[in-house]
Symmetry: C2
């Protein structure tokens, strides 16, 4: 019911193109999953997500457990039915959210006790419960419960979290009952190359159908992120899909594909869209900038997304300046279309054997947010972020 096959590997990089088969359709890789934590990709209907070319999306067990409750979705016949999405779904276990969103939590080997970020109510999850919840939700790909240390935690704390993540992964594997869902492991290990290798090797020995790289892009400098990806991928089996969790800026996708990653998810493209930052091949453009006030062309002249085909930059600027809800929707469509196009170009280049030159050309033109700004924004966001995603 599930399979992954490699179709092409890049001759002088780790980049690869492949295909995931899931009970809800085939998904070519590399693939980016739009984030719909609460069972909705913010502002869009499932039809629109599909029209943008997406075949798989991500939802979150933590959010859905708190609202509307796992039982409500189970009674509705599962998450696909509940949210009206007939493509593939990957649910994160909620481990990361418990560690990043919950105001109070207590971790023991048994599991995690935490308080809801919504109403403060107390909850307890274990690796077994997290599998049970994800079996009730019925996603195609489900994730183990992991413990994600902070990027600046002490080495001993990171080691403890990594080892606990391994024990939990084994328990998740044992707890799994549904044969139609693929359960992926999550590699931790903080910012230590040794721990990353150890974690990847240990989890590889358990023969999961897929491997995620967790605990990255959580406030560490970008070169560290990329090194940790390399160290992890080097110890993962070649024939299994590799999923880099929570990473999804255009430049990060290109860099991580070059290092052998197949699957991505991130709220970044949709979140920055709602803040008025629109992707272009030169970098992000801030639609609130006064230069757009009277621009009759679309914000990206070459773009064929619904927003750019139908509306001028001036109109988008106006909608943002008024806080009109249509603004967030059009910007979301634009950014998800850009990511879909970027991933399609990456795939094409891998298949043509021209990935490295595509990468160089892309990175020479695309201007990412500079590193101090990026880190400052990330810290700020981690602190007072939109709790709902």
């Amino acid at each position: 019911m599930h399979s992954f096959r490699l179709l092409k590997t890049s001759p002088r990089s780790q980049a690869r193109a492949g295909e995931l088969v899931t009970p809800h359709g085939k998904v070519p890789t590399p693939v980016f999953l739009p984030v719909g934590s609460q069972g909705t990709v913010k502002t869009l209907t499932p039809d629109e997500v599909k029209e943008l070319g997406y075949k798989m999306l991500l939802a979150n067990t933590y959010h859905l457990y708190l609202r509307p409750g796992i039982d409500v979705i189970e009674k509705a016949g599962g998450l696909h039915n509940f949210m009206g999405w007939d493509g593939a779904i990957l649910t994160d276990s909620g481990g990361y959210q418990v560690f990043s969103l919950s105001p109070l939590r207590k971790v023991s080997d048994n599991g995690v006790t935490f308080r809801s970020h919504i109403d403060g109510s107390r909850h307890h999850i274990t690796p077994e419960l997290v599998i049970q919840y994800q079996e009730s939700l019925g996603a195609d790909i489900i994730m183990v419960l992991d413990e994600c240390p902070a990027h600046d935690d002490s080495p001993s704390k990171v080691k403890r979290a990594t080892e606990r993540t391994h024990r939990w992964a084994e328990r998740c594997l044992k707890a799994q009952k549904r044969p139609d869902q693929a359960l992926y492991a999550i590699v931790q290990g903080g910012m230590s190359a040794e721990l990353r290798q150890e974690s990847a090797e240990y989890l590889s020995s358990l023969d999961f159908p897929g491997y995620a790289i967790g605990g990255l892009s959580i406030g560490e400098p970008k070169p560290t992120t990329l090194t940790m990806i390399e160290e992890t991928v080097a110890c993962l089996p070649k024939d299994k899909p590799r999923y880099l969790m929570g990473v999804g800026s255009p430049e990060d996708i290109v860099e991580a594909v070059a290092r052998g990653v197949d699957i991505f998810d991130s709220a970044l493209p949709t979140r920055v869209a709602r803040n008025g930052a629109l992707f272009s091949w030169e970098g992000r453009k801030n639609i609130s900038n006064a230069v757009y006030k009277e621009m009759e062309q679309p914000i990206v002249a070459s773009c064929d997304c619904y927003a750019c085909r139908n509306f001028s930059a001036a109109y988008l600027h106006h909608l943002f300046s008024c806080g009109e809800l249509l603004a967030y929707r059009l910007a979301t469509i634009h950014n998800l279309n850009f990511i879909a196009e970027l991933v399609a170009k990456i795939k094409g280049a891998i298949n043509d054997g021209t990935f490295l030159s595509f990468k160089d050309k892309f990175l020479a033109t695309y201007q990412p947010a500079d590193e101090p700004t990026r880190l400052a924004q990330k810290q700020k966001w981690l602190k007072r972020r939109n709790l709902s995603q």
Copy 2:
């Protein structure tokens, strides 16, 4: 370029079916105009508004003058172009908004000095300027500048405002240069039958191509609203369209059609949608009610709108409970679809000669908000309303 013809009148009521011809297409009447004060029907694309069956919408000169500015829209080739809507548009002059939204205003015969509700900046408009702005925006139907007294203003104040409205209407008529726009007059007169008659008769003598009834549904009891409509309509020419401004609850539409009104606009259907109140033939349903938490059927089983065809009440309940933006959009689609269907049924009944029995049946089943609740809500809304609509 503009015309109005009556196609059918109801034998035992004032209800009538007709057709408006505008430079942007034919519009059958009775017609309800969705409100897009800022050049967008909140949450929807122009395509969606069209798919719901609407052929004309309303935008507001006051809002567009403040943001993005009349010049921006003029440079974009007019409002149709700017917002991507190729159907008909009616722009309100902004008179009502100046009187209801501006924190400070000074009225003289010359015009109104007011402060922006957005940034407090000072502005001055005159009847001539309001016509000039609307000619730049380029709507199909434009409105005179009027002075709208409060529903409990003293008789002498109401009389002064009504007479000033008449003088301003004459000046607007003289100021009009574009022959391709239809300029409608606005009847005022507060809650006085005599003043309403006087106003309707005076303005009728000026031979405008259409007549609006202004200054109603602004906090007065419902029976007063209906009486004022009757008194006004009785003095308006039969062969001109009659437009009841700012009225659009389902029961009000039915009652006003019975009294001879052809055109309606109101932010109510879209505003209450965003608050989770969804129209059904039995009345409004509050999607946040716990009974919907697990309801697998759509909120209105018989409804064929996009939201009800694709999503359960439970899913909508969930989206509202999370404050997800898709919630407001689906609810807006539902309510605008309901109003479109209601107006289609009204038209059908007028054409079949069965309007009165349709009206009785509708009002027997449809449960409006009870009068004390409605008035309390209205007062509350007038006080701290969403300033952007």
